[in-house]
């Protein structure tokens, strides 16, 4: 279960990410950010410890 961020926490995270966003903009962002975080959290229930990410680096191709 992912805890929702408060506006203060979002402001702090934005500053750490070098994002200079006014408070009214952060307030508009907050619901979407919390929805995105909850959604990402739900995906953790899907993956077993054996599940690897879908993309792999290929040494022969170099990407």
């Amino acid at each position: 279960m992912v805890e929702d961020l408060s506006l203060n926490q979002l402001r702090e995270l934005a500053q750490r990410a070098a994002l200079n966003l006014p408070d009214d903009e952060l307030a508009k962002l907050l619901p979407g950010v919390n929805r995105a975080r909850r959604q990402a959290g739900e995906l953790r229930l899907l993956v077993s410890s054996q599940a690897e990410p879908a993309g792999h680096f290929s040494a022969d191709k170099g990407h």
Partner: protein, 467 residues
Amino acid sequence: MDISELCYLTIGEAAAGLRRKQFSAVEIADACLDRIEANDSKLHSFITLTADLALEQARQAEKELRSGIDRGLLHGIPIALKDLYATKGIRTTCHSAVLEHWIPDHDATTVTKLREAGTILLGKLGMHEFAFGGPSIDAPFPAVRNPWNTAHIPGGSSSGSGAALAAGFCFGALGSDTGGSIRTPSSHCGIVGIKPTYGRCSRAGVIPLSWSLDHTGPMARSVADCAIMLQVLAGYDANDNASANVAVPNFQSSMKDGIKGMRIGVPRKNWFDENLGIDPQTEAVFNQAVKVLESLGAIIVDIDGKPFSLARKANQTILTCEAYSYHEKTYQETPLKFGSSVRRRMLEGAFLSAADYLTAQRARAVLNEQIRANFTNVDVFAVPGAARPPEPFDAMDPNEQNMRPSFTNPFNLTGLPAISVPSGFTEGNLPAGLQIVAPAFEETICFRVAYAYEQSTEWHTKRPVIS
């Protein structure tokens, strides 16, 4: 033949008419430009019109065809491009103030292929800003409107491509699709669009939204026209890291073989009723389309929709993280240069963690296995092109799309080919689409099923009255 009839020919019909000298390439280009001039002020489908170039290319095509140089079915055919395909010497804006004045010094690989096939470029088309968010109300260019009812959205993000085709402004267009951006406007505008298999068509020279989910592909007014365009566009490109080095088949080879005995999976259970569920009118149109497929001899098989439903969560997580990564520097320096719609959606990626992103990529592997396992039991999946009819601009709720099932996201996450074909109308004469999804690199099966459906219905022959 009057202008309207000429502009609504299929690519196949126009190609035949050019070779029979019923009309010339210049006459077709002129007809399109006249129609755009008369009607596009109501739709705003074009950001940049390249009329002089179009007429020059049309004269060249006419000269070549007359002298026996035939570059194939697209020779002399007017097309247009979503404004995220780089075009050498022609402004490429992504419908954004960020790139408002950018003039690339190169063409995207797909643009080069279309030019070498002798197409006529009419111009660059409006879209959702950077192919994300919703219609851009505060971008430097007006939002594209739906030709079937200009009070409604045309769907996105390839909104100009969908609107221009439905309005008879061009014969084919390029879209791009990261979560449904070819198939949603195709469904909402009553035209055909295919998102080919991931890696089938080059992304080189296309401004990315999300590297691992971006697909390029054609949109047109018939299934056969999409196949004609894909034949030119498909193929390995060393300039695209995700390009697949696989053989390109003749996409029309089995198109007319019918679908008798074909097994079509419908993943209704655990998906169609997710949250607010599918709009009832849209579901009724879909159910009718499934009955048509059954009447053509297909066997309808219920399959579990749960992994399809979960796919949206992984798709959105990956998409927002990759999109933010691409645009991070601009967000840090000039965040308000982005329009409000794309800004709020894309900035979500700044607040997801590396673990969130990698978990989504791990979930992608799990869900791919679960979804593709269905192909041991069925040949294709059939799902609606969109979960609801196109909304009116004045009642748009950006959060609502997350409350309904996404019928497009799962096929970006899995990379499977998916085509949307017109399947009827909801209240107010607003189009709906049927989506057919096939195993990887089996676009021929998409075309075969979509063609059988298209030819047994009349939806693709309907035209909007632009007012």
